[in-house]
């Protein structure tokens, strides 16, 4: 595929998302729309964390912290600088607003990526549970710092964030995250990430700069977590540190583990399941979270390798399952 075709394809997809957005958003039940948007955001989170936890074999439970940094930074940008930029840019609003939004998101992602760099550095010395606890701690420290910055709301929360997030942006960034992580994983760099997971000593001996790859995984993962935070903030128009506790980090880790470490499609599926599950469980009221946790434990015990394991969903696989079933049926 040459460059031109690729660009055309991207434009085609963007057009498709835009049409979807314009077509669906006004008609769809806003409740379902919101769940759809949350699904998208959670997919971004799960897939990006999978790069760190699943593919590179590091163990981070601080994703909510990166998300918070991205969310607050982009919100601060669009809230404080956005109006000024809109004033000075003599461009039509339909054009300049998205520009400000994307700039905010990228800035948020970048700052989150920088935090990822900081968190990634201990990963050079620490492994497994120790690293996990450190990332968790980092996440909490980030939260405490945000609580202390009055300009972004502190304990009151950051309100009046402009509403920029729409289905279009969520679809766009979800697909972008998936494509970036997927393309990275199936490349020479992806193999390097995987080799770090499989055997660090051997990877290093084969000429892989494991340090660089570990930190890079953190940086990229954090970047997308930051984007997810920005999308959430500009959707809710409100940010509060209570959205970014370590429980949120746990949720994302659950998505990754449940989907299968190192399976992008698994992460996507698990993100959707774990976003829908609490909604589906609403009728059971007070027992909702009890059921949720019981289901989680049962899922982990019955399928410890995750839904997909390390495999990706693909049609051949589906065919194989079906043909096996068919064969069984015929045999019986």
């Amino acid at each position: 595929m040459n460059q031109l075709k690729k660009i055309l394809l991207i434009i085609l997809f963007l057009g498709l998302f835009l049409v979807l957005d314009l077509l669906i958003s006004p008609r769809m039940n806003p409740y379902y729309l919101q769940i759809l948007i949350y699904c998208g955001i959670n997919i971004i989170l799960a897939v990006s964390l999978n790069l760190i936890n699943g593919f590179t074999g590091q163990f981070s439970i601080g994703h909510a912290g990166f998300m918070a940094i991205g969310g607050y930074t982009s919100a601060a940008f669009t809230f404080y600088l956005g109006p000024k930029i809109l004033e000075t840019l003599f461009l039509p609003l339909w054009f300049s607003k998205p520009l400000v939004f994307v700039a905010g998101l990228l800035l948020g992602g970048t700052l989150a990526a920088f935090a990822g760099l900081l968190v990634g550095i201990p990963s050079l010395r620490l492994r497994g549970d120790y690293l996990a606890i450190v990332t968790l701690g980092f996440g909490e420290i980030i939260r405490v710092f945000i609580l202390n910055i009055d300009a972004i709301g502190g304990a009151r929360g950051f309100s009046d964030v402009p509403k920029y997030t729409s289905l279009f942006w969520v679809l766009g960034f979800t697909v972008l995250t998936i494509v970036v992580v997927r393309n990275l994983v199936y490349s020479t760099h992806g193999r390097a990430f995987l080799s770090v997971r499989e055997d660090e000593v051997a990877a290093e001996a084969m000429g892989i700069n494991t340090t660089w790859y570990k930190v890079t995984a953190f940086v990229i993962g954090a970047f997308f977590a930051g984007i997810a935070g920005g999308l959430l903030g500009h959707y809710l128009q409100y940010l509060h540190t209570n959205s970014f506790t370590f429980i949120k980090s746990f949720e994302v880790v659950m998505m990754v583990v449940l989907g299968g470490m190192g399976s992008i499609t698994g992460s996507i599926l698990a993100a959707v399941i774990l976003t829908l599950l609490p909604e589906v469980l609403r009728p059971v009221k007070d027992y909702r979270m009890v059921f949720y946790s019981i289901l989680l434990v049962i899922l982990m015990i019955t399928r410890p390798q995750g839904i997909f394991g390390v495999r990706e969903f693909n049609w051949d696989w589906l065919k194989k399952i079906f043909s096996r079933k068919k064969a069984q049926a015929e045999g019986a």
Partner: protein
């Protein structure tokens, strides 16, 4: 100066509670290499077990020291049963799975206990009955020490001492150390590793139960999610002291307790929750095995 001493006393009291919870973490981690996130909720259940048993037995109305000890024992028993049940139902089936899977399961169990606790105990905070009348036993030049503070410290030191004796002097204790060193080789000694793991959970959980009651005595407000943050910090304390190390857990707990109180006292309370993690990160970067832990190099 007296302020500093007072803060130190506050910190030690607080830290001794962390230490007790940390002991349970350290034991389970030492044997199974699992961060038993549900441990912090076992501590919560311990507090509630104390609360209910004190009311049912009518101890809440006319307190005394032996009765307080009775309540503590009941709570320890309830917790060890709970710990064993959790291990059997949730962790045992995952013995051969990856540690991450076990960890997520532990988080799931923790969520279950928290949410279940809100259903069973109610979400509102309960007042833990004053099993022992709080008294000042020392009050000079502005420094106040209450008997409850002293009890917390003595109780946790005693329990740690008993645990240390148990682990180092008894046959089961030795088996426990053998299992934590290498589960396979331990089974080659004829040690039933499953039994030892069960005992580990029972003891660790019992200590959490004791911590629950001690917290109730000192800070008599209990609720179903009281374990969340203290649990996390207790784990930090265990790592700080060197995970798998009993005096280490005690030391780690005291350090975290004192550090927190000092942070609140001399810096800002907002950083209370950050300081534990800050210390942890610093320690792990300079001494990854923890203060009393022994570092091991990976064999290539």
């Amino acid at each position: 100066m007296q302020e500093l001493i007072q803060q130190l006393i506050n910190g030690i009291t607080w830290g001794s509670i962390y230490a007790l919870i940390a002991l349970g973490y350290t034991m389970v981690y030492g044997v199974l290499k699992l961060i038993n996130f549900a441990h912090s909720d076992v501590y919560m259940v311990g507090a509630f077990a104390g609360y209910y048993s004190a009311h049912w037995l009518g101890i809440a109305e006319n307190p005394s020291v032996p009765k307080a000890i009775l309540v503590m024992l009941i709570s320890m028993i309830v917790c060890s049963c709970l710990g064993v049940i959790i291990e059997r139902l949730a962790y045992k089936p995952l013995r051969k799975s990856s540690r991450l899977t076990a960890l997520i399961t532990a988080i799931g169990v923790s969520l279950l206990l928290e949410n279940g606790g809100q259903l069973v105990f109610g979400a509102d905070p309960k007042f833990f009955p004053q099993l022992i009348e709080g008294q000042e036993i020392w009050s000079k030049s502005g420094i106040v020490i209450s008997n409850l503070q002293l009890i917390a410290l003595i109780a946790s030191l005693t329990l740690m001492g008993i645990l240390q004796l148990f682990v180092y002097k008894t046959r089961t204790g030795k088996a426990m150390r053998a299992v934590s060193y290498n589960i396979q080789v331990a089974s080659l000694m004829g040690i039933s590793t499953d039994k030892i793991i069960t005992i580990t959970f029972a003891i660790g959980s019992a200590l959490a139960g004791a911590a629950g009651v001690l917290v109730g005595l000192n800070n008599p407000k209990i609720d179903p999610i009281m374990g969340l943050l203290p649990g996390l910090k207790a784990f930090v304390a265990a790592v700080l002291g060197g995970i798998g190390n009993i005096p280490g857990a005690m030391l780690g707990g005291l350090i975290i307790g004192v550090a927190e109180v000092m942070t609140v006292g001399y810096l800002s309370s907002t950083f209370r929750d950050a300081i534990a993690f800050g210390i942890l990160i610093a320690i792990l970067i300079f001494r990854p095995a923890g203060i009393l832990g022994k570092s091991t190099t990976e064999k290539v």
